[in-house]
């Protein structure tokens, strides 16, 4: 790189910092959606940089399905303490207990779609006027058309046909009472950029991103971690086996597909991602429900 040029990672970081500062300047009560996955960890790391030496001016909101990898929860608490961020939890279990949502039943039951209600309820309860999310445009075709500043109506819904034009770096966060925004500072990052950045910045990540041995089952071609949250059928019960796997994404245990991998260092992960031949969300059971699963959920107010 010549003297007055930034590398792609420096440009992406600068853009993300700029977007986070815009959020702090334009909104009264923003929050950051934190799942404990790599994208939200990168957002936490960049938030810290954007406002130092002051504290991060927004709390981190975790929508907890109750079906977590224990490693993610441990990591969450340690990481937020380290960067000095305040945690707010929205609990899907609570939404179920209060009768706001109904638990799905059957073999494929998951709390993925229930999360949307918990998320919108929590946003209302805390009067958040903006939620920063880790969505990336390379993840999925419905995300490819998402704005940095994405307007949500009174019902928290996204209207893909009626988005505000977004030009240059001029982000329009104006809204009426009751409406809110979702802001995506990592819009332009790819899965590869995220890993490269974690490597470059030496950011600690949850252990389950690295290769480890775990009892798994294979359902519809997706490797799932065996846990009490899964409703196994007889055949699956007989076919639980120990596998060498790692997470490519971290969602809740019921819908996070694992990848067979021996990558046990960040460098090995970067190399693996460079060669990998299936898409990141290809292993997410929540996206496999239908061709337009993401588009449909986003319209309803999903992450």
């Amino acid at each position: 790189m010549t003297h007055y040029n930034l590398t792609h990672l420096e440009k992406l970081e600068s853009e993300a910092i700029y977007v986070m500062r815009e959020v702090a300047a334009q909104f009264e009560n923003p929050c950051l959606l934190f799942s404990g996955g790599k994208d939200s960890i990168v957002m936490g790391h960049i938030s810290k940089k954007a406002f130092k030496p002051a504290k991060i001016p927004y709390p981190f909101l975790h929508i907890d399905t109750g079906h977590n990898f224990q490693e993610t929860l441990d990591y969450r608490d340690k990481f937020l303490k380290k960067i000095g961020a305040r945690l707010v939890v929205g609990s899907v279990q609570k939404s179920i207990d209060e009768g706001r949502v109904k638990e799905e039943t059957g073999k494929h039951a998951s709390r993925n779609t229930l999360q949307t209600i918990t998320l919108l309820d929590t946003i209302n309860e805390h009067k958040f006027d903006c939620a920063i999310g880790g969505g990336r445009r390379d993840e999925e075709k419905a995300r490819a058309k998402e704005r940095f500043f994405s307007h949500r109506n009174d019902f928290g819904q996204w209207d893909p046909k009626n988005q505000r034009p977004e030009l240059w770096g001029l982000y329009n966060g104006r809204k009426h009472a009751g409406e809110h925004f979702r802001v995506f500072p990592l819009s332009n990052w790819t899965e590869m950029d995220i890993w490269q950045y974690i490597l470059k910045e030496k950011i600690p990540i949850p252990k389950i991103y690295f290769s480890h041995k775990r009892k798994c089952i294979i359902r519809d071609g997706v490797i799932l971690a065996n846990s009490s949250y899964l409703n196994l059928d007889e055949k699956e019960k007989q076919n639980i086996k120990e596998m060498t796997v790692r997470c490519r994404t971290i969602g809740d245990m019921v819908c996070t597909g694992l990848t067979e991998s021996k990558a046990s260092t960040l460098e090995e992960i970067v190399k693996e991602v460079a060669q990998i031949r299936s898409s990141e969300r290809g292993s997410r059971a929540d996206d496999k429900r239908s061709e337009t699963a993401m588009e449909d959920r986003k319209k309803e107010g999903y992450f």
Binding site: S14, A142, K145, L167, L170, K200, E291
Partner: protein, 422 residues
Amino acid sequence: MSEEIKGYLDMELLRFTTAGSVDDGKSTLIGRLLYDSKTLFQDQIENVKKISKQRGEDLNLALLMDGLKAEREQGITIDVAYRYFATPVRKFIIADTPGHPQYTRNMVTGASTANLAVILVDARNGVVEQTHRHIFIASLLQIPHFIICINKMDLVNFKEETYNQIKNEIKDFVSKLDIKDVYFIPISALLGDNVVDGSDNMPWYKGSTLKYLLENIHIGSDENLIDCRFPIQYVIRPRDDKYHDYRGYAGKIASGIFKPGDKIKILPSGFTSTIKTIEGMSKIKEAFAPMSVVMQIEDDYDIGRGDMIVREDNVPIISQDVDLMLCWMNKKKLHEGNKYIVKHTTKETKCIVKKIKYKLNINTLHRIEGATEIGLNDIGRIKIRTAQPLFYDSYRDNRTTGCLILIDEQTNETVGAGMIKR
């Protein structure tokens, strides 16, 4: 760290936009770039193979670009879609904009952040009205580099005369516009000729392939490093014991190079001071566009978001009367006397439309004098007066301090994109 890994961490970023008329093969071209750079994943390819087969086609790369359900149902692209791919040299962000004439606003949006425009022309049809429109919009948005791809060469028997004829016609048109750097390539997106690999079918073409140009066009001089402009975005005040008196001015450098010790002027107050420290990832000796940094200055002034730090000896225009080219993006039309919110760098103020000077026929570039309104997808020259002065440069000199958007006060929608003339 191995060399391979180090290489991954040290790549350039190039943003480009693509434009073409309907059926010019734009989706196929992007699909081809993604497919041949091995950016596509097996499950995505399998999915497209499956759908192609259902439709009785071979691998249809254009299907990879299919977006939302709403679009597939209507067989159109309704918005700008962003795509990503990387080669070992550069990472690319594509702003893919639809070709329909009514989507000027989308092309303007995609072009606003692009450093390069790939414009497709169908070799069978040659230069059509839309070709002019695409080139004009890209030049209006001051995209520094152009690659004109004459596509579907396979359907004109790879004839050099056809290519030359189209190329010369476009050259004539380009010479009337403000365009610095133009390349021409004869391609077949469908078969791959001159996209990633060269072409055995066109031995007469001695130039580079599209991929080679995308990887090698010099983009290091695209930023304005002369005029120092730092719009203050956010003031960092920790208010704790350790940093009791700390005041850091956070923002993204719009243009120029700043160093600690530089004599600066703060707008609009006109106060002068000296830069004490600049922090990016750590303390830095020089900060340049487009870095996000925090500056501390020697004097304790009351300044904040919307103010601008510049060099004492190089200041922008400071005025309430702004003359601009405007692309209108809303169904509700603009008339003289209308009031809007204007957003310019980190500043927000109100404005009134003083005059519509003319509207432009963007296919012929003729001025329509005496226009009384500017409607959706129109481009026009207008004059506004702002409630507070703006600090700006012409868009031609500075793509960051020379642009603004207009927002409707009632609906809060972004309704117009302006490029400042003076």
